[in-house]
Amino acid sequence: MKTANTLTIDGLKITIEGEKNLLEVIRKAHIDIPTFCYHSELSIYGACRLCMVDVSGRGVVPSCSTPPEAGMEIQTSTGQIRSLRKMIIELLLANHEQSCTTCQKNTSCKLQELANRFGVTKVRFKKAAAARPLDNSSPSITRDPNKCILCGDCVRMCREEQSVGAIDFAFRGSNVTVAPSFGKGLSEVECVNCGQCARVCPTGALTPKSDVAETWKALEDKSKYVIVQIAPAVRVAIGEHFGLEPGTIATGQAVAALKRLGFKKVFDTSFTADLTIMEEGTEFLKRLEKKEKLPIFTSCCPGWVKFAEQYYPELNDNLSSCRSPQQMFGSLAKELLPEKYGIKKEDLVIVSVMPCTAKKYEAAQEKFAVNGIKDIDIVLTTQEFARMIEEAGLQFNSLTPESFDLPFGFKTGAGIIFGNSGGVSEAVLRFVNEKVCGKKNTGNYDFLQVRGLEGIKETSISTPAGTLKLAVASGLKNARTLVESMKRKEVHYDIVEIMACPGGCIGGAGQPVYYKPEVKEKRAKGLYDNDKMLELHSSQDNPYIKELYKDNFGEAGSRKAHRFLHTHYASCKRTHSGEISILKGNSVNKLEVTVCFGTSCFLKGSQSILKGLVDHIKLSGLEDKVEVKATFCFEKCNSGPNARIGRKLLEKCTIGLAVETLMDEIKILKECASV
């Protein structure tokens, strides 16, 4: 008997349970439908045509965009369909740079996997496209258009999940390419370096930039003392590369591997995560006391920080001024360790192993260098770390576990859960709970409301100082939604934790490639299990942190702590486009006027300032003497609208001020000319 809600897949009866498309139903029947462009979290795109199945009465249809209907009879692998899939892969290969053996994605490439699976042994077509240049401009991500199969996963990820839209399709037909605006490099546009594009890229077209060679070079340089820090999320994912279950805690093997690779010391970023909680927690309590700069936004995620600097410059003051754990580590180590180890500061090389691509960008920022010496020299992703292990021939799973070095290798569980979305919040809660409410975190130290993979989570705790409200967002689209609703004053929070990657650092783009959604869940669980296994669970209990304060910084939030552990933020332009010439000014000795037309200034009325200035210039017959341009962003969005007139930068500019300054500057120019 035919029940109302079943359909048949390759002869098997399957119940429809609210699946939106056939593909999900077929997967439920344990049939691995091949696809490049279907991701449950992204919109349906329907372009790769691999998921085509035969629905009786309808013919060959794409399963990703066909809603399941009761009574459907589906065949997923007819001869017709297999030959179509084979042809599609062959066509893609014809237009793909086939340098598989040297490709970063070798063995984790989906195109390679499917070519193998469908037995494509020969490409009968000519290679069509001419080679396109590599985009190496970004410190985080390498873009190789020659390997792109145009599935659009990256475009939709960047737009839909991250609400950035730094890359999009450009051109048409066989010239289509995925590119940043105007064909610029990734580093010149609004890319926040989160690398989620690379995470979903099925081929080697978008990959985390590799710094492996540089690391080997440092390790082999006898004059260098190379140490390493390893982030919490790495330990629960590295094993996947070597066939272990996702979420397996492989800390001991990872430390052993790093030592075998030649790192002199192996430290734990969780230590500086504990330190971050001390600083950030203290900072929050101070703000709470003064009732200023609230809510406090976390600042450990460099993807989020760049996002905020670009789109929400008005939040600069609300961001916690704490450096991220990675950068705290760098600053600390570069300050304290040379003396301890009896080496020169410039000979100390610090490598980070991170789940993240944005950390590469963060470490490269000028503000994180002292006298030209970078706090962090090299950032490796989990993937790169795995590759080094492989290159060295180490059998990861058989390594005898080893322990971190002290003092920066000792952490509490609070520093471990940093790797999960909600982890920082939970760690802060454990801190605040004790400091404000005076409750010692013994026994139950879990705050389950902020756990899990939902995009936006919230909780509140009541304290003697009132109820504290807390929000957690991961994925920048969720961050944007949250911030926008805060801006509209629909919601109010005291603490907001934001991670650029969905699920937090465990879902970072530097982690081993995975295609199954449950992987993130297992990694998250791994970190919470790790927390349970540790002796301490609150950062403030970390004895080495206490010692650090005693010996070096005095107390949390001290002046010295600020110097080493805090930073500042600046608004950051989204695009590096040229200026728009408004008035040319023909005379040799002309006054230069530039009005900012970046989004922030534009919204604050720079258009009327420009108009006022130009009207005045025309009225006073000064057209020859002034050159007027509109430009994109002086990176001073908070004080906009901005204009530069001659040597003067005018903030919070008005027409009156602009005209007055213009006349002054003209006068000076005249005087100079007459002398």
């Binding site: 372009a47 794409p62 990703c64 069509a128 048409r172 037909g173 066989s174």
Partner: protein
């Protein structure tokens, strides 16, 4: 508030104004005739009329006596343009020049005499016909949708109304429920003219039953098939019929907003549609409470930006939303979730222009034309190697033979002769269509019979090709087109069309071998089966149909390195016939690659190794001594 005169009053008013008009001169101002200088002819006529002391009326605003001089939309007979028609006689003058104006006025208008040299003469028989409706090109057609095109002034809404225009929409607004409109249109059997021939009534019904406060009607005027210009002609010649069709579609589905999407390559159509929309708003035929009813309908006009794929519904909608025009998978169908995710009906221009006529004349009357399953008429753009190129309209089911022999006046051969002998094939439906051959001369042209042989009506381009046309080169031409116009989204279309083009180039340039054709066919089937949208699915049609009917031409190219029609450059060998060569040295001088040598007054020679086969020598030789052979 717009003046709310009833349509009847407006129509009567217009007729009253026309009472005093003694003669009417209609100058065709379709794109073709304008290109040939019809606007200059118009000015010259105006001047001549005035100089001859005749009152010239350019716009009927008040009751006047005199000669009404107006411009019309495309009359279809583009090749013979500029066209001037004179009423009441109904005389058609062809290829009129400004210098002819004076004679037209003094002879025909004043003295009722023909200007013989401007009268149409049949190129094959030499027979002369002065009366428009008697000319075979028109006589053998059945102009239904195009009836008013080329007669009425497209920029005068009053003339449309006087011709019963907007009466169907008004009637629908007051007297017909959405269900009844959908039922009537379904009963008429009207099928969408844009391509696959989906039943219009059913499409409307699908949108009608959607529960949504907002629905849209989109008129698809993105006519991009090369070799087709029916929609352009309707928009230029009778824009109000399209608007009326849209209003009715709105009433039938509950939509209150319409968008006319016109190809940017049609500036005149854009201009006329915009003016027509504005005029309709002014008379409250568009806007809130149209015809003083409780219904509302607004229309805006949007220009495309140059992408063939935007003729595909979902791609068109994407571009209306400010996105790249890339098709989206269906379902959901636009009728369920279209523009801004609201139910949206997308109809082709010709379809919409037919709708008011169906309601006006009744479905039974409509069904008298055409065939059982495909009632009505179809406009075709008849082009290529025929004596009469232009825009035509015939009932569905008409045979190709009738079209070619009667309407088109025969097929032209390379030497200019006119006969059916020179006929080789006709490409129907543009780059998505297929070719029909001699075997199909008696096939009734309708959706189903064409589909049965792997062809389609498409938008209605008919490109006739004579025996000198290489079918492999033609299929490469279409492949090049679809490859250029592929949006690049799905793999089979983006990569597949590119590789098909490569394989065709291999064939045409002598690089193909035994594996080429099987691979081409395998790939064609994959592209057909696997592509996302109609453009991709139909892209291999020209290749597959030429392979079916002209396979021997492919094999000749591959196996014998020979082009049977002698037109493929790669296989041509030029030689100079020493018997005919006078040694004038002109060819040697003109040859860009210095491949021709010889002394004055002695026969020349071509060095085939240096020859680039540009053909300049052939054109330059006055003695026809140089020949190319494949």
């Amino acid at each position: 508030m717009p003046e709310t005169l009833s349509l009847k009053e407006i129509g009567l008013g217009y007729s009253r104004l026309k009472n005093g008009i003694k003669a009417r001169v209609v100058v065709c101002a379709g794109t073709g005739c304008v290109a040939n200088g019809s606007l200059e002819v118009f000015d010259a006529l105006k001047k001549s009329l005035e100089q001859n002391g005749l009152d010239v009326v350019l716009e009927l605003k008040k009751e006047e006596n005199g000669t009404l001089l107006s411009k019309s939309g495309c009359q279809g007979f583009c090749q013979m343009g500029p066209l001037v028609t004179i009423f009441p006689q109904g005389v058609l003058y062809t290829k009129v020049k400004p210098a002819d104006a004076e004679e037209i006025v003094t002879a025909t208008i004043k003295a009722n005499k023909l200007v013989e040299r401007l009268v149409y003469s049949n190129p094959s028989t030499g027979e002369r016909t002065a009366i428009l409706s008697e000319i075979p090109f028109y006589k053998k057609q059945h102009r239904y949708v195009l009836k008013s095109c080329g007669v009425i002034d497209p920029e005068d809404i009053n003339e449309y109304i006087a011709d019963n225009g907007y009466s169907s929409a008004e009637n629908a607004a007051f007297n017909m429920s959405p269900e009844v409109i959908c039922r009537d249109i379904s009963a008429s059997g009207l099928r969408g003219r844009g391509g696959a021939g989906f039943l219009t009534g059913r499409k409307w019904d699908m949108a009608r039953i959607q529960k949504s406060a907002k629905k849209y009607i989109v008129c698809n005027g993105d006519e991009g098939d090369p070799g087709a210009f029916m929609d352009r002609s309707v928009m230029e010649g009778n824009p109000h019929s399209v608007i009326e069709g849209m209003i009715i579609a709105g009433l039938a589905t509950g939509a209150d907003e319409g968008i006319v999407y016109v190809r940017t390559e049609y500036p005149l159509a854009v201009k006329r549609m915009r003016k027509a929309v504005a005029d309709a708003f002014a008379l409250n035929i568009l806007g809130s409470n149209i015809f003083a009813s409780d219904k509302s309908f607004n229309i805006s006009v949007m220009e495309g930006a140059g992408a063939f794929v935007c003729g595909e519904e979902t791609a068109l909608l994407a571009s209306v939303q400010g996105e790249r025009g890339m098709p989206a998978p269906k379902p959901p169908f636009p009728a369920q979730s279209g523009l801004w995710e609201k139910p949206t009906v997308i109809n082709n221009v010709e379809t919409l222009a037919t709708v008011p006529l169906i309601l006006r004349h009744g479905t039974a009357e409509y069904r008298k034309m055409g065939t059982e399953k495909t009632p009505g008429t179809k406009t075709f753009a008849l082009t290529g190697h025929v004596a009469n190129t232009g825009l035509i309209e015939v009932p569905f089911g008409t045979t190709l033979r009738h079209l070619l022999n009667e309407v088109a006046g025969g097929v032209t051969g390379e030497d200019g002769s006119v006969s059916l002998e020179a006929f080789k094939a006709v490409q129907i439906g543009g780059p998505s269509g297929a070719c029909l051959t001699r075997d199909h001369l008696d096939l009734p042209l309708d959706f189903d019979s064409l589909k049965s042989i792997g062809a389609m009506v498409g938008s209605g381009g008919l490109v006739v090709m004579n025996t000198c046309t290489c079918m492999v080169a033609i299929s490469r031409f279409f492949m090049q087109f679809t490859q250029n116009e592929s949006c690049g989204k799905c793999v089979p279309c983006r990569e597949g069309t590119k590789q098909m083009l490569n394989l065709l180039d291999d064939i045409l340039e002598g690089r193909a071998d035994d594996t080429t054709l099987p691979l081409l066919e395998e790939l064609a089937v994959a592209v057909q089966r696997g592509s996302l949208c109609g453009l991709g699915k139909s892209a291999p049609n020209p290749v597959l149909s030429t392979l079916k009917y002209f396979r021997q031409e492919y094999t000749a190219h591959i196996k014998e390195h020979r082009c049977p029609s002698g037109s493929c450059k790669a296989f041509i060998q030029y030689s100079i016939d020493p018997a005919l060569c006078k040694g004038c040295m002109l060819c040697a001088k003109k040859c860009p690659s210095g491949a021709i040598t010889g002394e004055l007054k002695k026969p020349h020679k071509i060095n085939t190794a240096a020859c680039t086969k540009c053909g300049i020598c052939v054109a330059s030789c006055k003695f026809k001594a140089i020949k190319g052979a494949a």
